[in-house]
């Protein structure tokens, strides 16, 4: 970095391009950010800013935008891109420079957008990204010829390699030094004949400047012949999902034992050092037992995300969505609903935000309404806790682990009910023709070890942070509510019965008795509304304070205290219940009304109660 240069004026630079061409990967490489990158279209749905300093010391503000094919702005995410480029966003300056990012292996579609972007009146350059893949496949591009023809600089980049952005950085400096002058945008929506002309022009450019080898080393089609095979593809999908859940259970066992042994040791040490009293109880029963019981699930979360990120980067996730559509075809969900639903497996909130790629408002609403039924990662602790307490760890049919099988069915229950609910919505609430499934399938890519590991570490850090902040403080409050007020003089029965938590739990219990929940569960469900996995910690603390804990592990306590019917009923509850206030908040924000979050809460609550009731009563009837 050159120190002698006095502060250069800063530059605003926007990254535009088709979906899945690597804009966010470039943005991350330039700014050192960690925005989500995945191998399917429609990942970025919001405008994001980041800063970096160019090689000659110019401060640059980079803006990452959602991918688009044109400036027409048909869906909410495309509108964001259009308005950012045309300077229509209130209080937002128009960028000084556009970096058009193209997938070098699929230049044709991007060239159309480049031609359209010329009307934006902003100086621009074209970055041919994914050059590594193009080179591997033997695609050659006449960069100088293309640049001369388009009249803008063209450079090549590899967003995922450490020095793949050098040419881009140099070009940015060169253009900024030469002076950047924007003109008024003279963009207007193209009519049909102009669109056709742009297509022809783009086709001619590709014919002139791009040459494909006779036998392209593109594996995508060959792999797809197997993975998207009508019969075999589904079997492979089931097998993949199945293996993932098996791994979540079997690989995690050992590290989970270590973590829980660590917390036991910590609790014992603390109670040996501190004098018996309030503080000691707070730290052992509240903090260590409560937070510990949630943190134990770190290994499972890491393993699950490892697979999710691996499959995402490889390009299989988009295929999974495609195959799912085959099974449920006719549920009436839009093709573009699948990526939001897949994202909801991590958390419903990014999933709901990802619905911005859906143009049709009703279909967007239908997708938002069912997204929370997908099994989010905050449910994992609750599921695994109950499964490990009540489902024997043995093999059925030779090689299938029963616990993994139950977990798999819980995920399946979420997916099936989401499609069922969507169908109901489409049949009774929003009648209308359903559109065919159209989705571009991304090319397969070799997952990069570094980016997979980084993604996993990032998830782990988020989980730990969450445990250390919001879960920790909620556990402290739960401890307080379970300890105070102290029982009156001469009270019989455990002290916790006289506490706030005991009073609340006993008050709610009659309502929940038909579905088999005891008062401890009632207490745990309330903080679970703020963060699902707090319910696990709350159970641990309530049982520890109540003196009902048998042994150190919460699962041992539960299997001694609950009937199988109660356990199954709680699992059913967690599949459906609207146990997450933040999701409802995001629905309110995204739909701009209270109507939909309220409707969501009501329908999920009713569904949860009915499901638990049916499960509990049938389990009782079967002698559970």
């Amino acid at each position: 970095m050159n120190v002698s240069v006095p502060t250069l004026p800063s530059l605003r630079l926007a990254l535009v391009g088709n979906p899945n061409c690597g804009k966010t990967a470039l943005f991350n490489a330039l700014t050192g950010s960690r925005q989500k990158v995945a191998n399917y279209p429609g990942v970025t749905v919001e405008r994001k800013e980041g800063n970096f300093v160019s090689p000659i010391g110019r401060p640059v503000v980079a803006i990452d935008l959602p991918g688009t094919y044109s400036l027409r702005g048909r869906s909410p995410d495309e509108v964001v891109t259009r308005d950012a480029i045309l300077g229509r966003l209130e209080g937002d300056q128009r960028p000084d420079m556009l970096v058009c990012v193209a997938d070098a292996t699929n230049l044709r579609i991007m060239l159309r957008l480049v031609l359209e972007l010329r009307n934006a009146g902003i100086p621009m350059l074209l970055a041919l990204n994914m050059m590594d893949i193009a080179r591997y496949r033997g695609i050659t591009i006449d960069v100088d010829g293309l640049s001369a023809e388009l009249g803008i600089p063209v450079i090549t980049t590899v967003a995922v390699s450490p020095d793949g952005t050098q040419a881009l950085l140099q070009q940015i400096d060169a253009m900024a030094n030469a002076g950047l002058a924007s003109t008024e945008p003279h963009w207007h929506a193209l009519d049909a004949s102009e669109v056709r002309d742009a297509h022809h022009l783009a086709d001619r450019l590709v014919d002139r400047f791009v040459s494909h080898p006779a036998n392209d080393r593109d594996w995508t089609r060959r792999i797809d012949r197997i993975l998207l095979n009508p019969a075999g593809g589904l079997l492979i999908l089931l097998a993949v999902l199945f293996l993932v859940f098996q791994a979540v259970f079997s690989w995690a066992t050992l590290p989970m034992e270590w973590i829980s042994a660590g917390f036991d040791w910590l609790a014992q040490t603390v109670s040996a050092i501190l004098p018996a009293g309030l503080l000691s109880s707070l730290i052992t029963d509240g903090v260590i037992t409560g937070v510990g019981s949630v943190l134990v699930f770190l290994p499972q979360i890491i393993i699950l995300f490892f697979f999710i990120i691996l499959l995402e980067d490889f390009g299989y996730m988009a295929r999974a969505a495609f195959l799912m559509d085959r099974i449920v075809g006719g549920a009436g969900l839009h093709g573009r609903s699948f990526i939001p639903l897949l994202s909801s497996f991590a958390c419903a909130i990014p999933g709901i935000m990802a619905t911005r790629v859906i143009e049709n408002r009703r279909q967007r609403l239908a997708t938002i309404m069912v997204a929370p039924l997908m099994t989010c990662s905050a449910r994992i602790p609750v599921y695994t806790l109950i499964i490990s307490a009540f489902i024997p760890n043995r093999q059925v049919w030779g090689m299938v682990n029963l616990q993994g099988l139950v977990m798999f069915s819980l995920y399946a229950a979420g997916i099936v009910s989401a499609f069922a609910v969507a169908l109901v919505f489409r049949t009774f609430v929003w009648r209308g023709k359903s559109e065919p499934f159209i989705m571009e399938l991304p090319g397969y890519k070799r997952p990069l070890v570094r980016s997979v590991l980084l993604g996993v570490v990032q998830r782990a850090i988020i989980f730990l942070k969450r445990a250390g902040t919001i879960i920790l403080s909620m556990m402290i409050l739960i401890w307080f509510l379970s300890t105070f007020p102290a029982p009156p003089e001469g009270a019989t029965g455990p002290a916790i019965h006289y506490s706030f938590a005991g009073i609340i739990g006993h008050a709610l219990q009659p309502l929940l008795a038909p579905i088999g929940f005891n008062w401890q569960i009632a207490v745990a469900l309330i903080p679970g509304l703020a963060a699902r996995e707090v319910a696990v910690g709350a159970l641990a603390t309530v049982y520890a304070i109540g003196g009902d804990a048998s042994g150190s592990a919460l699962s041992q306590t539960l299997s001694a205290q609950w009937s199988l019917a109660t356990a199954l009923s709680l699992l059913a509850w967690y599949v459906f219940a609207p146990q997450c206030a933040s999701t409802l908040g995001v629905v309110r924000r995204e739909t701009n009304s209270w109507r939909w979050p309220v409707a969501m809460f009501v329908y999920m609550m009713v569904l949860a109660y009915i499901a638990s009731f049916v499960v509990y009563q049938s389990a009782i009837a079967l002698g559970g």
């Binding site: 994001k48 958390c347 902040t469 206030a581």
Partner: protein, 75 residues
Amino acid sequence: MHDPVMLLDAVLTYMIVFAAAAFVLWRIFLPVRFKTVLVHRLSGRKEPCAPQAEEKGCAVGCSGCALGSIHKRQA
């Protein structure tokens, strides 16, 4: 309760509980707008008139959505 150790024990406990309650209140229950105004008033600046968009998406920050915010690499 007159034992100084017991007193210290109680005082520390209440302080921790109070801090946790304040944190939960702040993170979950207070609306974003209110927080923006409060933060700006306390630091002596005038608060921005438009409601500030919430960067994180959700107040609680699930495993997925905290990824929505920009994390700058430490230079």
